[in-house]
């Protein structure tokens, strides 16, 4: 731990602390955003574009592993199809995914209401 001249622990870099907390906060909402957008069938590139337009930025290396994880959990279904002379993998919510999205959305509304009252 870094220390100041008088030997007391140096205060943490607030910019770094904020950035870590911000990422932590946003990370928890990514699944909800992705499931929500996949009520309509999309492939990865258009999904990320849609999320970016809505203000949800995703790292390039985050989206596809997340999609695979959600698929392995049975929340998404996918299939390879050809479009514009290129093979693409299309994702959509599975019935289980729809049910989970409904529950998560209700949870989100509840958290949002509580926090809005508090903040």
């Amino acid at each position: 731990m870094s220390r100041t001249a008088d030997g007391t622990p140096a205060p943490p870099d607030q910019g770094e602390v904020f950035e870590n907390l911000r990422q932590e906060l946003r990370r928890g909402t990514l699944v909800l955003a992705v499931l929500s957008e996949l009520r309509h069938e999309r492939y990865g590139y258009t999904l990320r574009s849609r999320l970016a337009q809505a203000g949800v930025e995703l790292d390039e290396g985050t989206l596809y592993p997340l999609l695979r994880r959600l698929e392995s959990q049975g929340l998404l279904a996918s299939e390879w199809r050809e479009e514009d002379n290129r093979r693409k993998r299309f994702y959509r919510l599975s019935p289980a995914g729809r049910a989970v999205l409904k529950q998560l959305a209700a949870e989100w509304q509840s958290i949002n209401t509580s926090l809005t009252r508090m903040l």
């Binding site: 990865g44 590139y45 790292d59 390039e60 693409k88 993998r89």
Partner: protein
Amino acid sequence: MALLERYLDAVGRHLPPAEEEDILAELRDDIQAKYDRRAEELGRALTQDDEAELLRPYGRPIVLASRYRKPQHLVGPAWFPFYWNTLKIALAVALIVAVGLPLVLALMGRSPGAIVRALFNFPETALTVFAWVTIVFAAVEAFTSSTKFRDNWDPRSLPRPRPAGVARTSRFDVAIELGVSAAFLGWWTAAHRSPDLLFLPPVVALGPWWASVYLPLAALLLVSIVVKAVILVRPDWTGFRLAAGLLTTAAGTAIALFVAWSEPLLTGSGAGGEKLAGILESLLRWSIGVAVVIAVTTTALEAWRYLRARRRTGQVSTT
């Protein structure tokens, strides 16, 4: 395009083989779409610098590939506190066993180089202990449900608070005692096979009592190691600790008294040997006497404090 192929190839090396083709096809499509869009914006073919700029946000190939693998940790947060505690205890015991015995030998003037060798060898021993503890906990992590483990916790299983005045059992102290007992048992067993390790002068030998005492003392040490291992896991079992302490002290005292009453304790060969055996025998009897008095007094005092504290808090009738 050349960089894209190199990037995909590097990612593929770290992917699960069964999914490699599928993952890379999807990744290629995503990156290719970006390439096309960027080339359209620039109105020309992409240069290697353009490619590098587009690939950099995907991250290092090994990091990207690791995100496709399910377990991202060997020991997760549910098990980590137990893993960390076990590791500390195991390393403390290993340190005592691996270094303590050579230290005793060095202090007794035998194998003075042993302690140096033991210290140099300890990093290897510590790594082995670290590896085994990690492997065991990684297996526990992989084959048990941490959610169930968390949910199965019952506050009613919490230990009773210690009666006021009874000292908290220090796991570190117990680990040291365990290590010392293990090292002593090792030495005792080795000395039984090779009496040279008793470090007696060549003209002095042990009396016939030695053969009768070997097994009872080895058994007592073994019981003591088991008891300490139990206390290490459940340091809150104060009653058990004291009861076991009373029993082992009683057994140890019985063995010590048997030795003290044995005639002769030591035998000497030649006039000088007999004289030396006599001096050593007196010293030995005194040492045994002092050790017995200290052990009995300490245990009795601890038991008395415990009973007094429980009587004060009205817990005598409970276990």
